[in-house]
């Protein structure tokens, strides 16, 4: 009865899929029919189709199952039915990677590919190449060479493409068959010519000069096949990127703009535009070609042209301006994809005055285009907001309208991202943006997005003009939404209370209501915030309401260590490194909203690695890693031995990690270590040599140094030498000769330990710098102040900020690393932690006059020596 119902339903759906309810085991059972004599072609073809269908639906076959099905299928070679045979070829291709002993059909396939039946030949070649392994290649080589130069274009093409696939099996196939491919290149068939060129390129790929010769030769005769011409253009482009002078190549690509095939013309234009070094003069002819395409009858051409123009508008907006008129015509194109791209291109190139008109135009059909293109529109708007900050009102309105429309998470997230980005760069837009976002979360079906916006409201809301108006929006979430959103809303509420004392009593009432929530997390949060907020009412409680994001594994380790101590002194949370924040991709065009897994920070993964080394575990057990420096190369990259160093900073000592690579194939190094001469005050605690360093493998040795008592001496330069026992060995096998090796050494570059190595920045948004600054004075931090004139290499405020943060290792607080354009003076606020958990605050007043930057630097630190060190290292 059920089956009947289903059948009926399928009928209503318009036939339905006859293979819908296939089951793997049943089909494989049916495959036994292949063994029957005589073969029933119709029945077998049907079963084979079912197997192919299952495989293409992603059904997994075990090796046993696949092999059994494969051998049953080989029996079908006895049938002379053309359809069945071609299905067998498909089956072979699908099963070739799953089944064992697939070479069994080699002879049958070679027979078919050399046989009289043309329908079999090309397909047999393709099937043959999937079952051939390195050992069998010699057996089929002769047939393949014959097939490449075959008269039939289908056979020749199949053989050429198959030989490209075979290069995965044996690298030099293309080279061995290059002569035949050369002959095929003269074929009259467009496809054969194209495929032959592909094989020839594959054969010469490794040898740049051979490619240049090939391209130069073909450039003169210009291949008849448009496909081959396109490929030639791509090869020429690749060469242009690699070689220095390429006037001839460039000339060829330009001449292709006048080719009679549109495909080639487009390819040439696309190539010219995408050349890394092309300037406006070079791309002008390409743009005019694209301009012509914009008026083409074919939608594909129009789409290609406008898409390329859209891309180039980012880098050369002026060049695209010439096409504005044609693009205007495309705005009303019946193909929405073309229209969208045209408008977004115009938004990039157009003047500020045309923005309003274009936005109105795009609003008429934005609901008709797919999410993917909506995201393109949103990105264009984002770029526009950065370009014309004054237009933010129009754009914000548009974005909020888009937010109200239907759309997927990705699309909504892109809009929210854009609004947030606009708010960040433009303080005027903040109020409006927050209002739009508030409205959006009133009716947002994506929990993740709602949580994000609530977090943002908690951060930005308290500093807005009228914080109280957001409270209602947030509290509405507590009543209406799911648990995770409610929890986020509670946290946001608490932030308002902590930052705006006038709101505290009201928020406390709301929070106490939240304590009756049905969800544990929401209740816990509400109870926690109520308790904190009731106890004290100072701005210093902000960090408690909004704890800095700490790296959880490090926190756990530190707490475990702390439990083992007598716990006399309070636990110092400032030792814990912050969690890695996932950097948003900076480029506007490629914007991904892919959720990244929370991962270990660099420091954490190093800590794991270091604690697995037996000699080091004892030393680092009770300490936490402050910071790992970037990789520092102690050798040139082309030398015999490559040594790279990473400095791991701990409170009392540092671990130098030397990653060594031996690039001499005839040497085996033993007992490798990097000898360091400890500078004054430093002492070597421990050395871990690398026992064996074979050719081209990475070996690591460690040296542990204790810091000097005097912090001033900690900034030092350390001479290093690579010491090892070298043994000659056979380059092929790597087995060392029997005789004893000899000691040798190799001079490396000096290693520097700088101030920045010992300081970790804490650039947290949530920290109120001014409050911390005031509090530091009260806590008895020592304060040093000095004025400097920065060197001639620094000519702008941005440059000064960059070099200062890089040099001191401190992070800018409160986003003071952004300078308003055109400003002549700037206040840079810096914060960080010196090793040993010593908090450092610094304020740099920068002034610019006549390309000369003057700086007044004030440093606050609990340790006067550290403050002095910072001041003196700038000088």
């Amino acid at each position: 009865m059920n089956a009947f119902k289903r059948d009926k339903k399928e009928e209503e759906d318009g036939g339905g899929n006859p293979f819908q309810n296939l089951e793997k085991t049943t089909v494989l059972q049916e495959a036994r029919t292949f063994n029957d004599t005589p073969v029933n072609p119709r029945k077998c073809a049907h079963i084979l189709t079912k197997i192919l269908y299952l495989l293409n639906q992603g059904e997994q076959l075990g090796t046993m199952e696949a092999t059994e099905a494969f051998f049953a299928m080989t029996k079908l070679f006895q049938s002379r039915d053309v359809v069945l045979r071609r299905l067998v070829y498909l089956g072979i291709k699908e099963l070739s990677s799953l089944a064992e002993d697939v070479i069994i059909v080699t002879s049958s396939l070679t027979k078919d590919m050399t046989g009289k039946e043309d329908l079999y030949r090309a397909a047999a070649i393709r099937a043959l190449c999937t079952i051939t392994d390195g050992g069998m290649l010699a057996a089929i080589e002769r047939y393949m060479k014959q097939a490449i130069v075959d008269r039939s274009p289908a056979v020749s093409s199949a053989a050429l493409v198959s030989s490209l696939h075979l290069t995965n099996v044996s690298g030099d196939v293309a080279r061995r068959w290059a002569n035949e491919a050369q002959e095929a290149l003269n074929s009259n068939n467009v496809m054969v010519q194209y495929h032959a060129l592909g094989v020839l390129y594959q054969a010469r790929k490794a040898d740049k000069h051979a490619v240049i010769k090939l391209v130069a030769k073909l450039m003169r005769t210009s291949p008849k096949s448009p496909y081959a011409a396109c490929m030639l253009i791509r090869m020429a482009c690749k060469l242009l990127d690699e070689v220095d002078k390429g006037e001839e190549l460039l000339g060829f690509i330009e001449s292709c703009l006048r080719h009679k095939s549109e495909m080639v013309v487009y390819e040439a234009a696309h190539a010219l535009i995408n050349l890394g070094r092309s300037c406006t003069k070079e791309i002008t002819p390409a743009i005019s070609v694209l301009q012509l395409f914009c008026g083409s009858q074919k939608p594909a051409l129009r789409f290609a042209a406008v898409r390329t123009l859209n891309k180039v508008a980012m880098s050369h907006p002026t060049a695209v301006t010439a096409c504005n008129l044609d693009l205007e015509n495309l705005i009303t194109d019946s193909n929405r994809s073309i229209a969208t791209l045209a408008i977004t291109t115009l938004l990039k190139t157009g003047a500020e005055s045309s923005v309003d008109r274009l936005m109105k135009q795009i609003a008429t059909f934005v609901s008709e285009i797919s999410d993917e293109f909506k995201v393109v529109v949103v990105q264009a708007i984002r770029a526009l907001c950065q370009k014309y900050p004054r237009k933010h009102a129009v754009l914000m309105n548009f974005l909020s309208a888009m937010l109200r429309d239907e759309g997927g998470l990705e699309y909504k997230a892109a809009i929210a991202d854009t609004i947030i980005a606009v708010m960040e760069v433009n303080a005027e837009a903040k109020e409006a943006g927050l209002a739009h976002l508030c409205e959006f979360i009133e009716d947002c079906e994506h929990n993740s997005l709602a949580v994000r916006i609530l977090h943002l409201l908690g951060q930005e809301g308290p500093t807005s003009k009228q914080p109280s108006r957001y409270i209602r929006f947030i509290y509405n979430r507590v009543i209406l939404e799911s648990a995770s959103v409610r929890a986020a809303a509670v946290t946001a509420l608490a932030r308002f209370a902590a930052a705006c004392p006038p709101l505290l009593p009201n928020v406390l009432v709301l929070l106490s209501r939240c304590q009756l929530d049905s969800d544990d997390e929401v209740r816990d949060r509400a109870a926690y915030y109520c308790a904190i907020l009731q106890q004290q009412n100072e701005p210093t409680i902000l960090p408690l309401v909004q704890p800095p994001l700490l790296s959880v594994p490090s926190l756990e380790r530190a707490l475990r260590n702390y439990m083992q101590t007598p716990m006399d002194e309070p636990f110092d949370i400032s030792q814990i490194p912050p969690a890695q924040t996932v950097e948003e991709p900076t480029q506007v065009e490629v914007h991904t909203t892919v959720k990244q897994q929370p991962r270990l920070t660099r420091e954490e993964s190093f800590m794991e690695k270091l604690s697995q080394i037996p000699h080091l575990t004892m030393i680092i057990r009770d300490s936490s890693l402050l910071k790992s420096s970037p990789v520092f190369e102690l050798t040139e990259s082309e030398t015999e031995y490559n040594v790279k160093c990473i400095k791991h900073m701990f409170t009392e000592f540092l671990i130098l990690q030397f990653d060594c690579v031996n690039t001499l194939s005839d040497q085996l190094l033993e007992d490798v270590r990097v000898a360091v001469e400890p500078p004054e005050g430093y002492t070597i605690l421990c050395e871990v040599p690398c026992p064996r360093l074979p050719y081209n493998e990475l070996g690591t040795t460690y040296t542990v140094l204790r810091y000097p008592e005097d912090v001033h001496a900690s900034v030092a330069t350390i001479p290093t030498t690579l010491r090892f026992m070298a043994r000659d060995c056979d380059p092929a096998t790597g087995v060392p000769d029997a005789d004893q090796g000899y000691n040798d050494e190799y001079m490396l570059e000096d290693l520097e330990i700088t101030l920045a190595d010992q300081v970790r920045g804490i650039g947290n948004r949530g920290v109120d710098f001014n409050a911390a600054w005031e509090a530091a004075g009260a806590k008895g931090f020592s304060k040093l102040e000095e004025t400097f004139a920065l060197g001639s290499s620094v000519t702008s405020l941005e440059g000064a900020i960059q070099s200062l943060t890089g040099f001191l290792g401190l992070d800018a607080a409160e986003r003071t690393n952004r300078v308003q354009s055109g400003a002549a003076a700037h206040n840079l606020l810096l914060s960080g932690i010196f090793r040993g958990g010593k908090e450092v605050l610094a304020r740099a007043r920068l002034a610019l006059s006549d390309n000369q930057v003057t700086m007044q630097l004030t440093v606050l630190c609990q340790d006067p020596d550290v403050a002095e060190l910072i001041i003196s290292s700038v000088g």
């Binding site: 029957d36 004599t37 069994i104 002879s107």
Partner: protein
């Protein structure tokens, strides 16, 4: 099946379809033997070592043969067993001039005879002592002794000296096989 087909079947006119398996060591002449069974115009001129297997068709005395010409290369010999199950006869070809590898032949033959798909069945085996024209080739008597063919109890077998290049002895061999298959499979039905 149409009325005519059934009528023809009744009278024994309908051609019978049988599968035979052609095995033997590499370079014993399997493909050459099969090539000789084919019609004049279907034959190929140069025979190359078979990789995997080949399917060939030929007919003899109103019986349609589908011959699975297996590769004799040592790497591919384990693949023979995939085709044991549904064959009606076996042609085992021996290079009678290759005394050195006679032990290998014996080993392969024993493995074939002991295979579960073969052991219990009454399946005719035709041994062809190929390359009889070569000067130091073994006689069939010596081969029977050397391979212990006389110990095969439950299967009809027959040995014949052949020369696959000229075709000498092949007709008589296939005639025997055809008769056996007719007796065992076709007449029984």
């Amino acid at each position: 099946m149409g009325l005519f087909d059934r009528l023809a079947n009744l009278l024994g006119l309908k051609k019978k379809e049988v599968n035979v398996l052609v095995v033997g060591l590499n370079n014993s002449g399997k493909s050459t033997v099969i090539n000789n069974f084919k019609r004049e115009d279907d034959r190929c001129i140069d025979i190359v070592p078979t990789v995997g297997y080949n399917v060939e068709k030929f007919s003899f005395k109103n019986v349609n043969f589908t011959a699975f010409d297996m590769s004799g290369h040592d790497r591919h010999r384990p693949l023979w067993e995939h085709y044991y199950k549904d064959c009606h006869g076996i042609i085992f070809i021996i290079d009678s001039s290759d005394k050195l590898r006679l032990v290998v032949v014996k080993e392969e033959l024993d493995m074939l005879l002991q295979h579960p798909d073969i052991a219990g069945r009454k399946i005719p085996i035709l041994f062809l002592a190929n390359k009889m024209d070569l000067p130091d080739s073994l006689t069939t008597v010596k081969l029977v002794a050397g391979l212990g063919l006389d110990r095969i109890q439950n299967k009809p077998w027959h040995i014949r000296a052949t020369n696959a290049i000229t075709g000498e002895g092949l007709q008589l061999g296939i005639e025997w096989l055809t008769d056996q298959i007719r007796d065992i499979y076709i007449n029984k039905r």
